[in-house]
């Protein structure tokens, strides 16, 4: 296994070099363009266009009688444009919605393509094999000439994206604003449509019609959770697209009967699901962890507050579970968890079922009570709210207010000494 891996990654075999280079380039090109497709919420338009260019390719072949990639590309571009225009046309001029229009164009155009394909087969020109590979891709059978061609196309796509990066970003995120600036939005959208169709037409060589949507948008979906910066998102998407291409060609190198395209898509999907789960801030795991931490914060802070208030009302320094419960109706499981966490953090001490706040716990409890009462003062003085309406809001805000906001509140309210219910506001010396 290692040996084959070494053999593969040394790229000494010209055929391996060609195929790998080709799929990697196509993966990068599609991922870069697909980032915009994804952000413009046109994920399935890519699927429709990839099906819709079939009749264009078939017609180009029928007219020229040659399998020259350039002619086929021109036919594909024309068909792709027409399909995009038709989708817009259906949405604008009938009561059908976008998703229906996409599905309609996909099936009508593809059906037309199949009709033409079978008609070509009847003519028996014999060279229609190249058209059949349209359906499932033919990464493993790419010639050096084709790889050069796709290489140039991918380079052109990336060049166009770099060149027009700012306008593309503007149109993708805020079309109305772009119009108000007097930009030629229609023309920019035309360029974007063109590079999308180009990326699809070439990408189909690697993965085929059905899976093209994945090559376009899965890398973008995988990159999105990692960053909020568009340029980084594109770079990450391109890297993922490249890895997909690499792994795909590796698998079909070690297992020649395996198709390249589906493996590329499986790798991309694993990346996408992985990043949706494990991305640092937006991932599912991260958000579950955040929620858990929040719950713990609120739980322990409520307990500390209860302890402090009990001290304030003159309780002796040791407090039992029952006194706590009499002060505030905690859920018994939550209370037990919170007490354990506070003991671990060194905010509490425990001696024969009696709890006492440590120095650290006292300060913490004081802080929560202070924030609560400061917010109550703010609500009555600045928001002109009634004193009997403010408690629930303060109950939430006490867990949220940061030290910076606290300092500002104290400054703004001139260090108030009493809250609206006439309790002291405790400050640290």
């Amino acid at each position: 296994m290692l040996e084959t891996a070494f053999e593969f990654f040394s790229f000494t075999e010209p055929n391996v070099r060609t195929v790998t280079l080709g799929t990697v380039l196509l993966g990068i090109g599609a991922a870069v363009v697909g980032s915009f497709t994804y952000l413009r919420k046109r994920a399935l338009v890519g699927d429709a266009v990839s099906h819709a260019i079939l009749p264009g390719v078939a017609l180009a072949f029928m007219i020229t009688g040659e399998r020259e990639p350039l002619y086929l590309l021109v036919g594909a571009l024309l068909a792709g444009w027409i399909s995009l225009l038709s989708i817009d046309g259906i949405v604008n001029y009938s009561k059908l919605k976008t998703d229906t229009a996409i599905a309609l164009i996909l099936s009508v155009f593809f059906g037309f393509g199949i009709l033409l394909l079978t008609a070509i087969q009847q003519q028996g020109t014999g060279t229609q094999a190249g058209l059949d590979s349209f359906l499932f891709g033919k990464a493993a059978g790419m010639t050096t000439k084709e790889v050069h061609f796709f290489g140039w196309v991918s380079a052109a796509l990336i060049g166009i994206v770099v060149l027009f990066f700012n306008v593309f970003r503007l149109v993708s995120f805020n079309r109305e604003f772009a119009i108000s600036l007097g930009l030629p939005v229609r023309f920019i959208e035309f360029i974007m449509a063109t590079i999308t169709v180009l990326a699809i037409t070439t990408g189909i060589q690697a993965v085929g019609v059905v899976l093209m949507a994945a090559l376009l948008i899965t890398p973008a979906a995988a990159a999105r959770p990692f960053t909020n910066r568009l340029e980084w998102m594109i770079v990450i998407a391109a890297a993922i697209g490249a890895v997909g291409g690499l792994v795909g060609s590796f698998v079909s190198y070690t297992h020649p009967q395996m198709p390249t395209g589906p493996w590329i898509v499986v790798v991309l999907s694993v990346f996408a699901v992985g990043s949706l789960l494990f991305a640092p801030n937006r991932g599912v795991v991260a958000s579950i962890r955040r929620r858990y931490q929040n719950q713990r914060k609120i739980r322990t802070e409520n307990l500390l507050k209860a302890f402090y208030q009990l001290y304030e009302s003159g309780a002796t320094s040791a407090i039992t579970k029952e006194t706590l419960q009499a002060h505030r109706n905690f859920q018994s499981r939550e209370r037990a968890k919170g007490l354990k966490e506070l003991l671990q953090r060194g905010c509490l001490t425990k001696e024969s079922h009696q709890y006492a706040l440590t120095e650290k716990g006292l300060e913490e409890g004081k802080r929560i009570v202070r924030l609560h009462r400061l917010w109550e003062v703010y609500l009555t003085e600045r928001m002109r709210m009634q004193a009997d309406h403010i408690h629930p809001q303060a109950e939430t805000m006490e867990h949220i207010i940061t030290p910076e906001i606290e300092a500002q509140l104290i400054k703004e309210l001139n260090t108030p000494q009493k809250d609206p219910h006439n309790s002291d506001i405790p400050y640290t010396q």
Partner: protein, 298 residues
């Protein structure tokens, strides 16, 4: 006679998938039909590997399971993973379809399914696959299978019409009545999966996808009444199958492709001549040829 069987098969597929497609269309889930019809591939392959032959029942079971799995994946990617809905659809079905093709390639020598046939199907072979009972020719097998599916789908819709109808037209109202919205969503998707798989063998994915969306859309352009829409869907499905077959005979081309194109032709007629919003009516209104109607747009 062959032509009769082929047109009948086409009409059956068109009616079953068209009626389901009408619900999908109104739920703004047209692309779900496309997605599920591709995603069921690994289900078919796995069922085939386990059972070892093309027994329709196990294939249907595999399809239902994978159809529900697809729906589940899409829901979770978009809700838990905060992905756009159409991106979740795209990612889910391409992933499952890839798995299917990989499985086919791995077990190529054990499986009599090739990827081409999944997409194209061979409606032309329908008349050849006849079944006999006591030496009596009962007609082609696909007709019986598709007929059975049609009965299943029709009876489910007849029994569950209220539930499907209300969850389609007013989801929030349905929820407030305590109707199990999720059940109806998954039930519809299960029916779509069954229809797709059953039709695969005889007509291929292309025609199923086309019939799931084109005839109901055409019907929707001509009427605002849901029951008329269902009836018109069947009519357009039949016409597409009939004329599509004629075109394919005339051009000696793919039957599935020709039927899709003819269905598309009816759609164009719909966009042009739709009685309320058709291009022709709009043009006449803009010229004020029909003065008794108010000249408004959209």
């Amino acid at each position: 006679m062959d032509g009769f069987w082929i047109v009948l098969t086409g009409t059956l597929v068109a009616s079953v998938s068209g009626v389901l497609g009408a619900f999908l269309l109104l739920r703004k889930m047209s692309m779900m039909g496309d997605a599920i019809s591709h995603a069921v591939l690994p289900g078919i392959v796995i069922a085939y590997l386990i059972v070892g032959h093309r027994a329709s029942f196990s294939l249907i079971l595999g399809a239902i399971l994978i159809g529900l799995l697809t729906t589940f994946m899409i829901e979770n990617l978009s809700i838990k993973g905060k992905l756009q809905v159409d991106a979740s659809i795209g990612i889910s079905f391409t992933f499952l379809f890839s798995l299917g093709i990989i499985l086919i390639s791995k077990y190529a020598n054990q499986i009599d399914i090739d990827t081409d046939c999944v997409l194209h199907g061979e409606i032309a072979f329908v008349p050849l696959d006849t079944i006999y009972w006591n030496n009596m020719n009962l007609g082609p097998r696909p007709i019986w299978i598709l007929g059975g599916t049609a009965v299943l789908v029709a009876s489910f819709i007849a029994i569950g019409f209220k539930g499907l109808y209300i969850t389609t037209f007013n989801l929030d109202y349905a929820k407030s009545l305590g109707i199990n919205v999720i059940f109806w969503h998954y039930a519809l998707m299960a029916l779509v999966s069954i229809t797709t798989v059953v039709s695969f063998e005889s007509v291929g994915a292309i025609l199923v996808v086309a019939f799931l969306v084109i005839p109901p859309s055409t019907a929707y352009l001509f009427t605002d009444n849901f029951k008329y829409m269902l009836a018109l869907t069947v009519v357009f499905g039949f016409l597409s199958a009939l004329f599509g077959y004629s075109v394919s005979v005339w051009l000696n081309s793919s039957i599935a492709g020709s039927m899709s194109v003819v269905a598309g032709g009816f759609l164009v007629l719909g966009v042009l001549f739709s009685p309320k919003r058709g291009l022709v009516v709009r043009w006449m209104r803009s010229k004020r040829i029909s003065p008794h109607q108010p000249a408004y747009r959209k």
